[in-house]
Structure formats: structure tokens, C-alpha cells
Amino acid sequence: MKRNQKFLLYTILLAVLVVSVIMATAIGAVAIPPQETFQIIISRLTGLWQNSEIPSTTKAIIWNLRLPRVLLGVLVGASLALAGVSFQGLLRNPLADPFTIGVSSGAAVGATIAILVQQTYHTGFTQMIPFSAFAGALIAMFFIYNLARIGGQVPVVTLLLAGVVVSSFLSAVISLLMVFAGEDMQGIFFWLSGGLLMRSWSEILFVLPYLLIGSVILFTYARDLNVLLMGEEAALTLGVNVERTKKVLLVTASMITAAAVSVSGMIGFVGLIIPHAVRMITGPDHRVLLPASALVGASFLVWADVVARTVMIPKEIPVGIITAFVGAPFFIYLLRKKKSEIRL
């Protein structure tokens, strides 16, 4: 892509995201006009543009309930899309996504255990689920990584296989736990379906560092990711330290995934289709693909969550169901439209 094309692309995507955040915050059971929403956010952030006519309950709805939820959608959507791009590029496999590698199944087991423990012993530790999920994800990653490692190298095929095998094993563990769960099953089910319900600023602060640090690392490895697409042997001869690069990317993308999954549950399809859709516009260059996917993933999840919480008011649908409902047909559309051309 040309420099001015990239600039235009980023401008559009960023504008779409900002507008999405404001609109999504405005939409809800209590409709608040977008300009009022915007005003509340700005005044809260900068201390300027105060408006005493807006009731404090409205301010509280915006600032304490809706905005954190929307922003968490931004962070989780960006995280999943970034991780998806990285895994697809790293594994050179168009079907890879943050869930293929098995990290998320680890998170799911961690979360399931935490839900069961919490329901049984009623601990006061409110952040237990994300922490437990995160720990589960890291353990799974460590396990899969060592399973796939052969003499200091991590061949892509073994990595994929190890990920798939560990994933299905952990799914069985979850099913077993659900059998024991009894009345807590709905809590587990809700978590597994993925959602942003009842999330607050503390989850945002939990995810943010991983996303920020992780994306910096990924962006600095963007060229290496491109060169890796030439094949590992070619990448070696082009000066890329292939094994180290794979390890760094694998750990980074897994950490981003783990952090996102631990606060939002299993939100599928974002990490799979967003990279494909964006790649159709930007081409395979990771220096554009990574930031563009992050922005698109963020906007996408924000709107998916709007649908999830408004379509059946007062009931909420897990957002993972919405992303799958939208994502699967879209993926099929891509597949049919481009047919043989589904590639990275």
C-alpha cells in the first residue's frame, strides 16, 4: 500500500472506531443522545465542557456502566484480531485463530474452576475469574509449547497439532466440570459463550497493559512476520532468526489472547474473520494488516456487543453468539466470493 493510502485507511478506521464507541455508549435501555454522551465523556476526561443540566444518574450510566463495557469491547476486539493476524501469519495457516492454539481452552478451564469455587465457597475475591482464566491460559500455552518443541525448534505442524489435541482434551475437562456444576452450569455456559456483561474499569486496566505491550512487540516484528511468509528456510536466508521470532510471536500473541479471554470469555470468529476481511483490503503486509485489523476488530466487537445487549431487551445474549451468527455467514461469503483465493 502507498503511504497516502495507508494514511487514508487509518484515518477512516480510527474515525469509525471513535464514532462506534460514542454511538454504542449512547445506545441502550435508556437512550441517551450521542452528543450528550460525547459531552459527558469529554467533560469527565478533561474537566471542561461541564453541563449541570445532565442528571448525575445519566452520567453514572455512561461513565460507570456503558463506557467501560464499550471500551472493554474495543480492547478485547483489538486483542483478538491482533492475535488472529499473528497466529495466521506465524503458522502460515488461514484457519488459525486465537482459539486454535489451545490457549483459550486453558483460560476456559481456569474460569470454569473459578466459577465453581466461587459458587461453592463464596469468596470475596471478585477478580477471581479473570485471574484464574489467565493462569489457565498460561499453563496451557506452556504445556502446548513444550509439547510441540522438538530439539529447540517449534515446527508449525506440531504446534498446530499440539494445540488441537490439548484443546479437545481441555474441552472434555470443561464438559466434565459442567456435569459436576449442577445449578452453576448457566454461569459457566455464559462465560464460555463470551460476553462483556457486568464488566468495569478494573477489567480494562487488567487487559490494557497486555494489549499495549503486546501490540508494540507485534508491530516491531511485523517485517519478520512478512518475511516468514516466504517460508521458514527463505526467512533464515533473509536474516530472520526464525526460531526466536516464532517464540516471541507465539508467547506475545498467546498473552494477548489470554488477557482478552480471561475478561470476556470465549468470543469466537473475531480473530478468524477480521484478519481475512482486512487482508482483502490491505494485502498481506503485516505492517498495515496488524494495526488495521486491531481497529476493525475493535469496532466490530463494539457493535456485536450493542446487538447482544439490545436485541432482546431486557435479556442479554452472550456476544460470542452474535459474533458467530455474523462471522460464520460472512466467512462463507468470503469463501464463495474468492473461492480458491482464501489465502493469507
Partner: protein, 436 residues
Amino acid sequence: MKIEIQNLSFQYGSHQVLDGVTFSVSPGKFVGIIGPNGSGKTTLLKVLSRILQPTGGSVTIGGQPLAQFTQKELARTMAVVSQDTNIGYQFTVEDVVLMGRAPYLGRFQSESLEDYEIVRQALEVTGCSHLRERSITELSGGERQRVIIARALAQQPKVLLLDEPTSHLDIGYQQEILDLVKRLSTVEGLTVVAVLHDLNLAAYFCHELVLLHRGRIVACGQPTEVLTADNIEKVYATRVLVTPHPVFGTPQISLLPGTQTDNNNSETYRIHVIAGGGSGGEIMRDLRDAGFMVTAGVLSVGDSDWEAARALNIPVVSEAPFSPVSAERHQENLALLATAQAVVLAEIPLGHGNLLNLEAALQAAADGKPVYVIEEKPAQKRDFTGGPGQLLLTKVKQQGQLIRDKTALYRALAERFPSGGKFDDFTDLTRAAVDQ
């Protein structure tokens, strides 16, 4: 940069793929690695490019051990064009070539104008400038190969390694690519090591060749030293004919199909062929394939029939090139004739130098041997003696048996020697030919 390879070995499990390989490549030379499938060519190239780690021995590039290069240093020194240039991702040609600049860029650095200029030049040298904006996935095999070479050039290497750079290309592209590579080595001083499977191309383009067989070097040096019939027969287990390129004099290899094994199982019937100037090659081959033992003579060294006889493993009385048949050779020839069961006189050009061969045929006929004289066309046109040749030939014809063409010859022989070799096939074949 000079490459030195010392006692290099590589083991794959218990399989010794490379075994004590030692050679060196001088700066600016184009060295070809040849050898049959599974001889370790590609493995050698992968060890040289540090994709595989050797299990023994050492490689130095410009005096520095290969293992001591950092990955980026190595990529700045040496570029590799692998066998498989397929790229499944829709990068533009310029993007792909730009990746050749990756070893020069820091993690936070983006490509400078200078990098783009280097890419532009690499595209120009390889004739890819017009493809710059195209997607790599849309290119033909030859175009893609050139783009990958352009990427290698963008690395500004001192050493270029290529693994069968022409394997998927038709002959026009093969020549184009190798022309380019040769130009890079002679003009730009690039040290080139290429695995090649086409011996003729290797002989034509490379300064030096390394012939590998079962992981060991069989021969190494100038193409004329390496590409001898003996070396090739030993390594490729097939019989070949090595002749100088008609224009440039580099060795050219011709296959001799169906000549892997000796077929002289009916030694009781030996046929002596008097040929020359290409008149007897086919006859000798057919007779030999039919199961006869065949001898020939007298033939000048280098004559195409002489080459054919040698290639067919047929004993031949040889005379020095461009010399008339000497008395000694004539005697040797007579000795061979005396013990042969039949004689075939092919449509040889009649010259003062080989009239003794006609004398020998006449002698054999006088001794009561069947002498088959082939005459498809009147002998007048191939008589360069101004009369005596034809006169002598007429005498031979009177004493011997005049044969219209090769088919008739085979039929005559089949009737004469009903129990010799694969005779039945022969008669069928000839009858079929006659029926037509």
C-alpha cells in the same frame, strides 16, 4: 568471497548424506554441483546456507567460519535461491524484492529511498521492472524465479547459492536465468554455487563443476575434467556419449538409451561391419541388439561411426584421425574379418584413405565369407577417388551379396543365421517392414 569447505559431513539419522566433502570456490567463480538424485546436492547447499547444521567438518566464507556469522550478517553476505519459489501470499513483486533489504534494517527502521533504489536496480538487472506492481501469485514460473533472484540481489550478497534454479522452466528461461547468473559472477564478481541437474547446461555455464555421488565428491574441476564418459557412467549408471559442443567446445552429453547392459550372448555369430562417416552406427546398434557379436573397422578416431562403436562397446580397429588406413591396421582388420561369420559393408564414402577397407572386404569374400554390400543409392555420389573406388566396390559386389537396404540386410541375416540371438523378433520386424 572465497568459500572453503573442509571435510564436510552431514548425517540424517543413521544415513550419511554428505561424507567428507572438501572443495573450495574462488571469488567470482560460478561452480555447479551435479550428481544423480539423492547424491546430497541439495543437502550440501542447505548446509552451506546454514539451514542445516553439519555433523562434521567446516565451512568458511571469506575466512570466517559459517557458524560465527549472525543471521543478519550472513544474509548480507550470502543470498539463497531455493528450489521452491512458490509464494502463496499476494505480495507485490516490489514487496517481495524489498524483503531482500530486511537484513540491512533495524527493528524500528523502515526502508529508505536508497533501499528502494537498490530494489529498482535488482529488478532492472533481472528484467523484472515491468512486473513491479504485479502480485507475485500471478506470475509464471520463470518470472517468479527471476523475482526471487532479484530479491537475492537486493541483499547485495558476495555469495549466491542456487538450488536447481531452472528446474521448473522451459529451455528458453533456463538459458536466460543461467546467462544472468553467469553474468553476475563474471561481471559483478559474485561467487556462485548452483545445484544443477542438467549436465549440458552445467557444462556450458559453469567455470567449475563438483560431481557428487552418495554424498562424496567423485570429481571436481573444469567441466572437461569432470564430465568424462567414465565419470558419468559410474555415477549415473547409464551409458553416455561425451562430445564437444558443436560451437563452443564445452562437453555435451548425449544419452545412449538401451545400452546399459552388454548383450553379447551369442558369441558364435560374429559380424564385422565396415563403416564410416555415419553409415554404420544404426546397423551396429541393431545387430548388437539382435544378439550378434559385432566388430568394426577400420575406423578413424572421432568418426561418428567410431563414436557409435565405442558407445556400443563394440571392438573396433581404430586409426588416427584424418589418416589413411595403415598397413598395420589393415592387418588387424583382416585378422578380425578372418574369424567373423559374416561381413557387412555399409555405404561408406569411398576415398583413397579407406580403399584398404574395400580390399579387406574383397579378401573376405574371396575366402568364402558372406559379404553383404549395402547399396541404397548408386555409389557414384560417394566416390571421391575418381573411379578406382567404384571399380573396387563393383568387384566386392560381384563376389558378395548386394543388399537393397537395412531391412533387407536384417532379413538376409535372419535367414542365414536362424538360431542366432533374438532372430525371431527380427524376422517378424523385417517381414512387417517388407509388407508395408
